[in-house]
Amino acid sequence: MPENIKYSEDELVLFLQERQKNAFDYLYENYSGALFQMVVSIIPDREIAKDVLQEVFIKIWKQVETYDAAKGRLFTWMLNITRNASIDKLRNKNYKNTQKNREFTEDVYDAGGKVSMNIDHIGLRKMVHTLKDEWKEPLELSYFQGYTQDEISKILDLPIGTIKTRLRAALKELRKIMIT
C-alpha cells in the first residue's frame, strides 16, 4: 500500500466499518507494533503473544461496529481489547500449565503478598515498575495481571479503600512519568 496515505481516525473507523481491506491494512501497518508490545508486556512468550495479537485483530475487525467515538479514541478502545485478550490468555488454565512447565518468565506473587519482579519489562509496565512498591503493586496486579480490587485487597491484605487510593495515586504518578 502507498506510504503517503494518512487516514484521520474518523475516516479509518468509517472505512473499517465499511469493511474496506485497505483500511484494515492501514490499521495493521500502523498499530500492530503498538498493540503487540501491549500483548508482550503481559505475555512475554512471543509464540503465545503472536496468537493473542492475531485474535486481537480479528476481534477488532468483528467488533468495530460497536466502537463509539464518543466514548474515546479508537486506539484506547483497541488497547483495552488487547489488554483484555492478553489477560484472558494469562488466566487461561492451559496457559498457566504451559508456563509452569517452563522456567518462570512471568511475575508471580506468593501468598504472603509479596510480588516478585524478576524480569525485564517493556513499555508501560517498565514505567510502572519504577514506582514505589505501594503504588506499583496495585497497578501491576490490576492492569497487567487483571485482578479485581477485591482480589488485590485479599492478596495484599489491605482494605479495599486503601487499594483504591493507592491505585489512583499510582496512576497520577504514572502519568507524570509518561509525560517526561
Binding site: 502507498p2 496515505i5 469493511r19 495493521y28 480479528i58
Partner: protein, 277 residues
C-alpha cells in the same frame, strides 16, 4: 465542582486504562459533556497512552499478518485476494478517489447552493432598486410636469399683468378720453368703453357685448359732425381690449351689428350701444 481536583484525582487514567467501574466510567462520560477541560484531560491522556505505546512498538512476526489476512479474506468488501497486487492496489486507491470525489461533489453542491442564494438575493435587490428607480422617476416626472405648469401659469400671469399694466397706463394717461357706451332700450345688458387718445388719435374699445350670431359682426362707428364714420370691426382684440381705427375727430361712438366684413353705412336698427363724448 472543582474540575482541576477531579482531573488530578487519577480517575481519568483509571477509566481510560479500563480499571474503573462502570459507574465511574458513566460519570466521567457525563462530566466530559459538561466540562470541556475534563474532556480535554481525557483526550490528552489517551494521546499520551497512544504515543507511549507507539514509541515502544514491537513489530510482530510477518506470519501474524498473513494468518490474519487468511482468516479474514472472505470478509473484505472489495473481495480482492491479498495475493493479487494489482487488485489490492486498486482497492487501496478507489475508496480514496471516491472520498475525494465525494468531497469535490459536496464542495460543488455548496457552491451551487451559495450561487443560487446569491442569485436570488441579487434578483431581489434588483427588483427593489428597480422599483425605487421607477418610483423616483415617476415622482420626478410629476414634479417636472408640475414645474412646467407653474412656469406656464407664471408666464400667463406675467403676460396678463403686463397687459393690465398697459391698460392701466392708458387709463392714467391725462390725454385719454374715456367714453361710456350704454345699451339701447331692450339691449341694456350690453355696454362698452371707448378710450380715445386725443393726442395720438388712437382709439381702443373694451366691449361687454353678447356674442354675435354667426355671419354677423360688431362694427364701431364714430359720429363726426352728425355723420357715422367707420371706426373698424371688433376683430383685433386682446384681453378684452380692441385696437380700433385712428379717429381725428368725433363727438360720439356707437356699435352696430353688421354682416360679416362690415358695412359702409350703419344699420341704425341694429345699434346696440351709443355714448357721447
Amino acid at each position: 465542582m472543582n474540575t482541576e481536583e477531579y482531573i488530578q484525582s487519577g480517575i481519568i487514567e483509571s477509566c481510560v486504562l479500563g480499571l474503573a467501574s462502570q459507574e465511574e466510567v458513566s460519570s466521567l462520560e457525563a462530566l466530559c459533556l459538561q466540562y470541556p477541560e475534563i474532556k480535554k484531560a481525557v483526550q490528552d491522556f489517551e494521546l499520551l497512552l497512544e504515543k507511549n505505546a507507539l514509541d515502544n512498538a514491537i513489530a510482530p512476526p510477518s506470519e501474524v499478518r498473513n494468518n490474519i489476512m487468511n482468516a479474514l479474506k472472505d470478509e473484505f468488501n472489495t473481495g480482492s485476494s491479498p495475493s493479487k497486487v494489482t487488485e489490492s492496489s486498486e482497492a487501496t486507491i478507489i475508496p480514496i478517489q471516491l472520498k475525494e470525489r465525494a468531497k469535490v461533489f459536496s464542495l460543488w453542491r455548496y457552491a451551487a447552493v451559495a450561487s443560487i442564494i446569491l442569485l436570488l438575493s441579487s434578483v431581489a435587490l434588483n427588483y427593489y432598486f428597480y422599483s425605487n428607480y421607477q418610483e423616483s422617476k415617476n415622482n420626478y416626472e410629476a414634479l417636472l410636469l408640475n414645474n412646467n405648469t407653474l412656469q406656464a401659469n407664471n408666464n400667463l400671469y406675467k403676460a396678463k399683468f403686463n397687459s393690465l399694466q398697459e391698460k392701466f397706463q392708458m387709463l392714467e394717461n391725462p390725454d385719454m378720453k374715456i367714453v361710456q357706451l350704454r345699451g339701447l332700450p331692450g339691449k341694456e345688458a350690453n355696454t362698452a368703453t371707448v378710450l380715445w387718445d386725443t393726442k395720438s388719435r388712437d382709439v381702443y374699445l373694451m366691449p361687454t357685448l353678447i356674442a354675435p350670431p354667426s355671419g354677423k359682426e360688431y362694427q364701431l362707428w364714430a359720429i363726426v359732425d352728425g355723420k357715422p364714420v367707420d371706426a373698424g370691426m371688433l376683430q383685433n382684440c386682446e384681453d378684452g381690449m380692441c385696437k380700433m381705427k385712428n379717429m381725428p375727430d368725433a363727438q360720439a361712438f356707437a356699435i352696430t351689428l353688421e354682416n360679416k366684413g362690415g358695412s359702409k353705412t350703419p344699420d341704425m336698427n341694429s345699434m346696440y350701444v351709443i355714448g357721447k363724448i
